[in-house]
């Protein structure tokens, strides 16, 4: 658990059945560790059922320096339900610990208890989870808290950090909930503290916080919310859909405090409609959904493009097509985000690669929507939306409050032309209520005046206008549209990536460099319009280019090879699970060997 250079790198995996409080336990654990100043990256996997059945896993990686992805091997596995945990025992590293229920209720056939599967190289810790909980609270419900107390005791982690989080977590519930859970925690802490320790190691100290910085822990969705608020979001319309729901919930709780308005509509169609309406009226407006919802919104987004109305749509991707795998992660809505809808309907598509990126991208999305008068789609995925990272919020608000090229920019004579052709293809935009700016927005193709017109040259010109204005986004101030990491100059293997997968890509790159492979990685944040020059330049440096993404078709690979016509190696995974660092590394090695040969 304490690695070579003495700094902490320990990954916990808590596995149980839905209803065991697995996810809640993981949540308390990561918050407590972050509270102690550790860097945390965490990701939960849970089934669609609310309770009763289905596997839940909460993985929490605690490090001194921020890690970029989860490890394949966990150092500690806690089983709240052996039937689900047993297949994962192999995930525990040598001299890693396996903590399990020592006295199950039901008679078990041979092999049904986890002790049958723990390797001699792993450390078994039997714990009477249920009994400790029942002793402390007369009910078994606190088993998930019990294992936390045990972990704290076992690894000498400050129990107060947990007590605080527990208190905070159950704040809105009856006081008894907090007290009984704390009792259970303390009881188990004592057990963990006094149990014979099979491994003498304890956690290394967290890195001291830089002065003035207070690191907090956020999910991708949490960072989106923070970004929205800092960017001055006015209205938000949403409809619950996994994994975007928490954006709605968080904004519903927080936006009103900042003068914004949130409404849960009856469906996605209504949500995007209201968003477009508010955008027309000059509000910074947004909605959030997932693939199926985006599909419903396609037509209305078309109106947004056609009417050149600012709007921001956050799309957290999940396994598709159709209802697909609502609780599994995937990067397969890229095509729909970039191309979806009727007609030539280009819009800006951004894809942050980590939680901190979610914050910046969210804010910048509003700047761009406003500045370039277009819908902006921000592509997340379940893995990024739900995973926790410790981030340091910027000291001062980095987002421009108002970039609207307003009526005052109208220089022409005669009637105000909402769609006037200009240098930068962006027309002055009057907002309802502004004198002298009256106009009509329509989904019909229209003239500069906004009057319906299907003249050939007009449609050509307007199409050009709607596409050309977006090019400026490629140089939008203070925003990373793509970025290169790792070795400079000529490269054996270059890795291109987008979205959440880039974390694994970075870890793989570091590993490859450690093995002496000249390796470099580039993340592409702006997917439409595509930063073709930078990508081309990067590919020039590389003998081989690898593009790992979580979909079956290789959607970004198609986009790039379509745009640049260059060869690249695809690594497509559509398993519903995040990419494995080892998978990427193996591919990098293969390409490096191929080059050497």
């Amino acid at each position: 658990m304490v690695d070579r250079n003495g700094s902490t790198d320990i990954q916990f995996a808590i596995i149980g059945s839905a209803g065991d409080g697995t996810i809640a336990a993981g949540d308390i654990l990561k918050r407590a560790m972050a509270g102690l100043g550790y860097k945390v990256i965490a990701f939960d996997i849970y089934p669609a059922e609310i309770r009763g059945f289905g596997k839940c896993i909460s993985r929490v990686r605690v490090t001194t320096e921020q890690a970029y992805s989860l490890k394949r091997h966990s150092d500690v596995l806690v089983s709240l339900d052996d039937s689900y945990a047993i297949p994962h025992v192999g995930e525990v590293c040598d001299y890693g610990a396996v903590i399990y229920e020592a006295s199950p209720i039901a008679r078990l056939p041979e092999g049904a208890h986890i002790t049958a599967h723990i390797r001699p190289t792993q450390l078994p810790y039997g714990l009477n989870q249920r009994e400790i909980s029942e002793r402390a609270t007369s009910a078994a419900r606190s088993r998930n808290i019990v294992i936390l107390g045990y972990l704290a005791g076992l690894y000498g982690i400050d129990p107060q950090a947990f007590r605080d989080v527990i208190a905070a977590k159950f704040e809105r519930k009856a006081a008894i909930v907090t007290t009984s859970n704390t009792t259970a925690f303390d009881a188990a802490y004592e057990v963990g503290r006094t149990v014979f320790k099979l491994d003498q190691g304890s956690l290394g100290e967290p890195a001291p916080a830089k002065s003035g910085e207070t690191a907090t822990m956020m999910t991708g969705n949490g960072a989106i919310v923070r970004g929205c608020i800092d960017a001055g979001l006015d209205t938000f319309f949403g409809y619950p859909i996994t994994p975007a729901t928490t954006i709605l919930e968080r904004l519903a709780a927080e936006l009103p405090r900042h003068g914004g308005r949130v409404l849960q509509t009856e469906d996605e169609i209504s949500a995007i409609s209201a968003t477009i309406g508010a955008g027309y009226a000059g509000a910074r407006a947004a909605t959030a959904t997932s693939g199926p919802g985006l599909a419903l919104m396609a037509e209305m987004l078309g109106l947004g493009v056609m009417g050149e109305i600012p709007s921001v749509v956050f799309v957290s991707q999940r396994g598709g097509p159709s209802t697909g795998m609502p609780t599994k992660t995937e990067q397969s809505d890229l095509n729909m985000a970039v191309f979806g809808g009727a007609g030539d309907a280009q819009r800006i598509v951004l894809a942050p690669t980590n939680v901190d990126g979610c914050y910046r991208t969210a804010g910048k999305a509003f700047e761009m929507a406003e500045k370039y008068q277009t819908p902006v789609i921000v592509l997340l995925d379940l893995y990024l939306s739900n995973r926790y990272e410790t981030v340091v919020p910027p000291a001062k608000n980095p987002f421009a409050p108002d970039l609207n090229k307003g009526l005052e920019a109208w220089r022409g004579d005669g009637d105000y032309q909402r769609y006037q052709q200009t240098e930068d293809h962006v027309s002055p935009r009057a907002l309802p209520g502004e004198d002298g700016g009256m106009h009509t927005v329509t989904g019909l193709e229209h003239s500069e005046l906004g009057k319906p017109s299907d003249l050939p040259e007009n449609h050509m010109a307007m199409s050009a206008k709607r596409h050309e204005k977006l090019k400026a986004a490629l140089t939008h101030p203070d925003f990373t549209i793509c970025k290169r990491f790792g070795d400079e100059g000529p490269i054996d293997v270059g890795i291109l990536g987008w979205g959440s997968t880039f974390g694994e890509i970075l870890e793989a790159m570091f590993a490859a460099q450690a093995e002496g492979i000249r390796c470099s990685a580039m993340k592409v944040v702006m997917l439409s319009p595509l930063p073709e020059e930078q990508i081309a330049a990067f590919m020039d440096d590389c003998d081989a280019v690898l593009l790992p993404e979580l979909n079956y078709e290789g959607q970004l690979a198609n986009l790039i090879s379509g745009a640049l016509g260059r060869p690249l190696t695809r690594l497509n995974r559509a398993t519903g699970a995040p990419m494995q660092v080892e998978e990427i590394l193996a591919e990098v090695r293969r390409l490096a060997r191929a080059k050497a040969a």
């Binding site: 609310i50 289905g54 409809y239 859909i241 709605l248 009856e266």
Partner: protein, 304 residues
């Protein structure tokens, strides 16, 4: 419980339960609803009802949308169709139009029905398509973990309405009565036997029957539509209520403080199927309109 309690003997009960044959309508796999969920009661009711009506498994189709309630088809051994959020009724209509012989049961939760699916209900009702629509109303979004729903009480605090919801709840019974549903009833998951009776009646009714089922969500609603609450609040429709009196029915439906259980409204009128039959005859030659009407009233063959 201090009421006199005579000994109950397991094997007598097992004989009764396993003997009557309603278990055959169940799937093999156990329902995945939260333990305590009212939907278990509905599931029990539907199997009992189908058994009572002797509907062959092959002729029953259960159609649902998205949501906890919509998992229902998975727990039946009949034909099932798990469609998209809110799109239950159009799909169910299609099934019925394609094969009049089928017993089509559409089910969904309050969100699926009255939020995203709300637009479809009036049309299914006025067409009087001969299907049964059961809404399991727990007044909350379960599958997305506890947000407010169209039937949630005013002032409901949920993750999406942390400062209380400020929307009035819909009154589904009033809606359906005004939409022109030809059979409207209400039951409660806590009253298993009455529920089974109502489901049987609803399925037997010829035309669009709407059964509203009050069904607590034990996971996300600890305060409003709980068993404890409903046990006290629910009452039976007065014995003298005349189910052909739509206005009287609406009066009862309006009294939401103490939801009344039972049959609110029933009328016999041509179904969508009759309409098709009528069109067919009109389109054809050599038939007298009158005969057509008579034929229209004839009950289309249901293999019940």
């Amino acid at each position: 419980m201090t009421e006199p309690l005579k000994p109950v003997y397991l094997e007598d009960k097992l004989k009764q339960v396993r003997g009557d044959g309603h278990l055959r309508y169940r799937s093999r796999s156990l329902p995945t609803w939260c333990p305590g969920c009212g939907y278990f009661s509905v599931a029990e009711g539907v199997t009992v009802a189908l058994n009572r009506l002797q509907v062959p498994l092959k002729d029953a189709v259960v159609v649902s949308g998205i949501g906890c309630a919509s998992r229902f088809p998975f727990f039946m051994d009949t034909y099932g169709l798990h469609t998209l959020h809110g799109r239950t009724l159009p799909v169910a209509t299609g099934v019925k139009v394609a094969n009049e012989a089928l017993t089509v049961i559409a089910v969904g939760g309050d969100g699926d029905a009255f939020a995203i699916g709300g637009g479809h209900i009036p049309h299914a009702a006025r067409r009087n398509v001969d299907i049964t629509y059961m809404v399991f109303d727990n007044g909350v979004y379960g599958l997305t973990k506890g947000q407010t729903s169209p039937t949630s009480v005013y002032g409901f605090v949920t993750p999406s309405t942390p400062y209380e919801s400020h929307d009035q709840p819909l009154n589904p019974l009033m809606m359906l009565l005004s939409y022109g549903a030809s059979w409207v009833g209400q039951a409660y998951a806590g009253h298993q036997h009455h529920l089974s009776d109502m489901i049987a009646e609803a399925i037997a009714h010829r035309g669009f029957s709407y059964l509203h089922i009050l069904s607590p969500c034990v996971t996300f609603d600890k305060t409003e539509m709980t068993y404890a609450n409903l046990d006290i609040r629910v009452r039976d429709l007065p014995a003298d209520h005349d189910p052909s009196d739509r206005l009287a029915a609406m009066k009862h439906a309006a009294a939401t403080g103490h939801p009344a259980l039972g049959l609110y409204f029933r009328e016999e009128r041509p179904t969508l199927g009759d309409g098709f039959a009528d069109v067919a005859t009109r389109a054809g030659r050599k038939t007298k309109t009158g005969a057509a009407r008579a034929g229209g009233k004839k009950k289309t063959a249901k293999s019940k």
